[in-house]
Amino acid sequence: MSKAPDMPKATTSSDGIIKLAIMAVGGQGGGVLTNWIEDCARRNGYAVQATSVAGVAQRTGATIYYIEMAPAGDREPIFSLMPAAGDVDILLAAEMMEAGRAILRGFVTPDRTTLIASTHRALAVSEKTIPGDGISSTQEVFAAAGIAARRFVHFDLEKVAIEAGSVISASLLGALAGAQCLPFTRQQFEESIRISGRGVDTSLHAFGHAFDLAAGIQNPEPEPTPADLPVADNVPEHLRAGWQQLETRLEQLPEPVRAMARRGLRAVVDYQDLAYGEEYLDHVFKVLECDNAEDQFRLTHEAAKYLARAMAYDDTFRVADLKTRGRRFDRIAREMAQPDGARMKLTEFMHPRAEEIVGMMPHRLGLFLSRRPRTMRFIDRLFNRGRRLRTDRLPTFVMLYLLGGARRWRRGTLRHAQEVTHLQSWLDEALAVAQRDYGLAVELIGNRRLIKGYSDTHARGLSKFDRVNQAARQLSGRDDAAQWMARLREAALKDEKGVALDGALKTVASFAEAKD
């Protein structure tokens, strides 16, 4: 064993064996990490044994690697081949929910376990497929880790790795070394990375940063706190007066509503123009007339949010506009880490259908055409196919650029007329309800959340919206109408086909029958 002066004190269990488990997601480099730790232990006077399960379980699934070590002597220690609940000294979790899984399995106990976890999330498929927000909260894992672990070391080690151009195995090793729970020095760990011989520089970089964080030499960057909206400083000279007027009007809104309305206003002005912002504020003020301070202006707050969403609906002009903006090009170059001297080709995937084409037409013409199925089929044949558009090329860019610029004629289109009608009836219905049942009205406004996406997805959202909204009639008069409406909306966001919604609607329908 090395006699380095800065030898950290080891976490050793009573029986003299150090037990270390790694919980990872397949593809995170758990095998490499295991090799490094094993090599470091073996070269520095320890008898060590590592085990892993190879094979199909490694394909993106949850995997465990396990290492045991004890000071080498004349006799070989008998090591176990798998971790046991309540008997793990160090647990490395390469993702936050894997830390949760380790706790769940009893591998983290307050008497002995140092838990070193990366706080980032690698979402499981079940979290990602929910049409709404299905992401599991890590809050409870943090709380559980605080109770279950003897010591809890946690950073976003994925970020550390990516910043160094490396993978998380390297930053996890750094955190392990920095947490000083194994009897090896920084140099000894680093030597193992060097000996392994692959991606040495980037690995050492990630290792070093993670080491400093875990050893407290360097503090992690604080989480950015949601700042107030920056002042709009990019308003062109000739529009400044008009914008100022809108901002002044905004100030007349009650305080609880203002921040959301500011976001909304910016969204719709960005979407269309100043006049559209004016329209937006008209709507908001109209809602405010039906609102009151006792309810903290919740109705107006929700309306400020969803009116902006409803008015800034997703159409072809919008997509063309967003796709051709300078900021977007800058963002992509940044995200793709475009190196100097490299050029970037940009391909967009569009699939317009007859509905989108007709939606862009002047209201009357569009309506005329859309009522003729054969004509629609013909238009579909002309346009409905996948289009790969190269926006880094001038001709395609100019085409989309012009289409984006054509938004100035948006107000005259069929789609806009449809959206305005829909918005009006949605708003009117909610405001009518507001007189009788304030809470229900707030929920009706919130139902707008269900409308999203394009094409089929949009149609599905609309149908869910309609079905949920229609239930208002059955619910009206009930004390818990608002709660039920919220529940229906949540159900609608649970799955794509609306199975959960069907169930919830059945229950609501049974209320109506009982009432009859």
Binding site: A54, G55, G61, R101, S126, P236, G386, G405, Y454
Partner: protein, 733 residues
């Protein structure tokens, strides 16, 4: 080209007399085979012994230097059949495959081999896929050893013991003219450690020698009346010979008081209780760990309780067992899995011997499932409570044990994370297309097979409801071959196709004029087992080396009589995939409709191409690297794209914008630009949020000029518009 290369590691196979080997179990087994003078080796991949096949493949040069024939067999049955070389010739042979599924496949050959008996040592190395990390049904290979009279070794899970078991296995096989199964468990295959090496040994009699001096003896052929003689020989000659050999050579081990090594006090009488534990060799470390934690053993395995460690779990040696029980009031049998063959046999032995020793086993340990650390400790604790409570530490004897403080219940928070398709997997678009087809035409009867493609049965695809065995996907739809309202669809991989699918599935469908649709998922490798080559592999090594690849699946299918065959050479072309599926489901063609969907396994492709691309970039050559992205202000957060993908690199991102409720799609830097996202967004008419950015490294001068000009004009147009309106970016809106 296998997923993992052992090219460096196999150098340790050349270690000579008295050196120290350090490494993994599978490599140690290979070294032990060479030290034992093996004459031929073979097998079929499958976790946990896939890497043993990879080691053998990477060690082919070393093997041929020693005149050892290496064969990558077509299936486990083919591997077991190869052991026929040891029937007449004094050649040691070893094959490996996974158990019990590989043993199932091999059982025809194994039964014949066992009946014939062997002259040279025949070793079957079985990677027993039981417990956590296993990918198959949970059963035991033990039953096969019993029914065919094959001896079963289950050595202690450390390298010296496993290495010793290889040599012992050959000796036992030769001494008893019986094939021997050497069982290694999931973790033993990859456990690391060291052992002192011996020099590699050239086989005394090689396969070439055999071809020069052919032999045959009809007494060895499994035909009546010889088969009856063989049956008697197994029981009357080979079995007692095996028991004698096991006993005389001390293959089973004793530890603890009045045992062998480690027996220190001999204090197994009197108060400390005359009790003992009998365990399979593979369970030894787990038993010791439990005893360590109960304060009854130290870290070197010196135990206060006598242990009878069965490195040979079949046949049992009655005298040894009864001897061990003689002075004991209670014994515990630690036998993982079910049925509990050992415990049943021991119970019968004790009964017949009119013994008063009380037998424990599945009364304190669970009948089914892996004996994890927790299970083992609870089981042994339970045994001690019954048999010798005084041995337990006071803290455990107390009725009220301290409960660990409860934290929040995480069982609802932590999502399950089953394995799934890798980033960029070429199978994903096949199932995306199939899901779209089902959305349009309704749910179909779909049968799955063994292989990565079985992940399609999980969310988000949920395609395929059964798997009946390797290469049996289409065969398992045979009942529906007659057709009906909607055609049945079956999936089979290229691995399963060559394993036995061509005859059992395709041939079966042709002969029975099946109405079904068969999708052959061809990713160029036996990918789920680690990317080993198969007959149809298209790796660059084709033509070179000792294996012949590049044989077309479509041609093979046509060769057995399929008339309707469609070949797709880019599975990422989702519209084409859909169109062909539609055609297959609607054509009035009589007989099976076979679609061969081929694209290279992305894991292997990346491993092959990435280093080359990086090298090319460094050398200043033009390289294009694709990656996908999502415009977060266009994405509306419905996640329809994810429901047609499940790609690890396509995830979600919570926007810092109160106007947006739901997280939007986001693609991380692990994206390999396979194209599935764009294809699916287009084919399912989802949304225009996706874009592909192809980074062109070292572009040509002309290309660079045009690009710069375009960028300048584009930039000017963008600035022009920005100056005439109010734009709020995502972070300002």
């Amino acid at each position: 080209m296998a997923e993992r290369s052992f090219a460096e590691a196999v150098k340790s196979l050349k270690l000579g007399e008295g050196e120290t080997f350090t490494g993994e179990g599978i490599l140690a087994i290979t070294k032990a085979l060479l030290e034992s003078g093996v004459g031929y080796v073979g097998g079929y991949q499958g976790a946990p012994i896939s890497h043993l096949m990879d080691v053998l493949a990477d060690a082919e040069d070393i093997l041929s230097e020693l005149d050892v024939r290496y064969e990558a067999n077509a299936s486990e049955a083919a591997a077991a059949a190869m052991l026929a070389a040891s029937v007449h010739y004094p050649i040691r042979g070893a094959v490996t495959f996974k158990g019990p599924v590989g043993v199932n496949v091999a059982s025809d050959a194994l039964a014949n081999l066992a009946s014939s008996g062997v002259t040279g040592g025949a070793l079957i190395i079985v990677g027993e896929d039981y417990g956590e990390g296993s990918s198959i049904m949970q059963e035991r290979s033990h039953a096969f050893a019993m029914k065919s009279q094959i001896w079963l070794l289950d050595p202690r899970p450390n390298l010296p013991s496993i290495v010793k078991a290889v040599e012992q296995g050959f000796e036992l096989s030769e001494a008893t003219n019986t094939p021997v199964m050497l069982m290694v468990r999931i973790r033993s295959c990859h456990v690391t450690g060291s052992f002192p090496t011996r020099a590699n040994k050239r086989p005394d009699f090689t396969v070439r020698d055999a071809l020069a001096n052919p032999r045959s003896d009809y007494a060895r052929v499994v035909l009546p009346p010889m088969s009856y003689v063989q049956e008697q020989d197994k029981i009357n000659t080979r079995w007692p010979a095996a028991q004698a050999h096991i006993r005389d050579h001390g293959l089973n081990e004793f530890f603890g008081p009045s045992g062998g090594e480690g027996g220190e006090g001999g204090n197994n009488g009197g108060e400390r209780g005359a009790i003992g534990i009998i365990c399979q060799g593979g369970m030894y470390n787990g038993v010791i760990r439990a005893l360590q934690r109960l304060g009854l053993a130290n870290i070197y395995g010196d135990s206060d309780i006598s242990l009878y460690v069965m490195n040979v779990t079949y046949p049992i040696v009655s005298e040894e067992f009864l001897d061990f029980c003689k002075d004991k009031s209670h014994v515990l049998v630690v036998e993982e899995g079910q049925p509990h063959f050992l415990e049943q046999a021991f119970a019968a032995e004790l009964y017949k011997a009119e013994s008063e020793t009380v037998l424990h086993g599945k009364d304190v340990l669970p009948m089914a499932g892996e004996y994890t650390g927790q299970v083992m400790q609870e089981g042994i604790e339970g045994f001690l409570k019954k048999a010798a409570p005084n041995l337990l530490p006071a803290s455990l004897r107390a009725p009220n044990r301290e409960e660990i403080a409860d934290g929040p219940d995480l069982s609802k928070v932590v999502p399950i994370r089953p394995p799934g398709f890798c980033t960029g997997c070429p199978e994903r678009p096949i199932f995306a297309a199939l899901k779209m087809t089902e959305t349009e035409k309704g749910k179909h009867q779909i049968a799955g097979d063994i292989g990565c493609h079985l992940f399609a049965s999980l969310p988000p695809f949920e395609i395929g409801g059964s798997t009946m065995g390797y290469g049996l996907g289409p065969a398992s739809n045979a009942a529906f071959d007659g057709g009906g309202e909607r055609r049945s669809i079956s999936i089979i991989g290229d691995g399963g196709f060559w394993h036995n699918g061509l005859s059992s599935s395709i041939g079966n469908a042709v002969y029975n004029k099946s109405d079904g649709v068969i999708v052959v998922v061809d990713n160029y490798y036996s990918a789920a087992t680690g990317g080993q080559d198969v007959l149809s592999s298209r790796s660059l090594a084709t033509g070179a080396g000792s294996k012949s690849t590049g044989h077309s699946i479509a041609d093979a299918v046509k060769g057995v009589g399929v008339k309707w065959v469609r070949q797709i050479d880019r599975t990422y072309d989702v519209p084409k995939m859909r169109q062909i599926l539609d055609e297959a489901l609607t054509t009035d063609h009589v007989g099976p409709k076979v679609i061969v969907a081929s694209s290279e396994c992305m894991l292997n492709k990346q491993r092959r191409e990435r280093p080359l691309a990086n090298k090319a970039i460094k050398e200043g050559r033009r390289v294009e690297k694709p990656r996908f992205g999502v415009d977060e202000d266009i994405c509306t957060g419905d996640h329809a794209c994810i429901r047609l993908s499940g790609c690890p690199s396509l995830s979600l991102k919570q926007l810092d914008d109160p106007l947006r409720d739901d997280p939007v799609a986001a693609i991380d830097q692990s994206c390999v630009g396979c194209g599935n996202c764009g294809e699916v967004a287009d084919a399912a008419v989802l949304c225009p949020s996706f874009y592909r950015a192809d980074m062109v490294h070292n572009p040509g001068r002309w290309e660079q000029m045009i690009s710069k000009f375009s960028q300048r004009v584009i930039g000017w147009l963008q600035r022009r518009r920005a100056a005439r309106r109010i734009e709020f970016s995502q972070e300002q809106s």
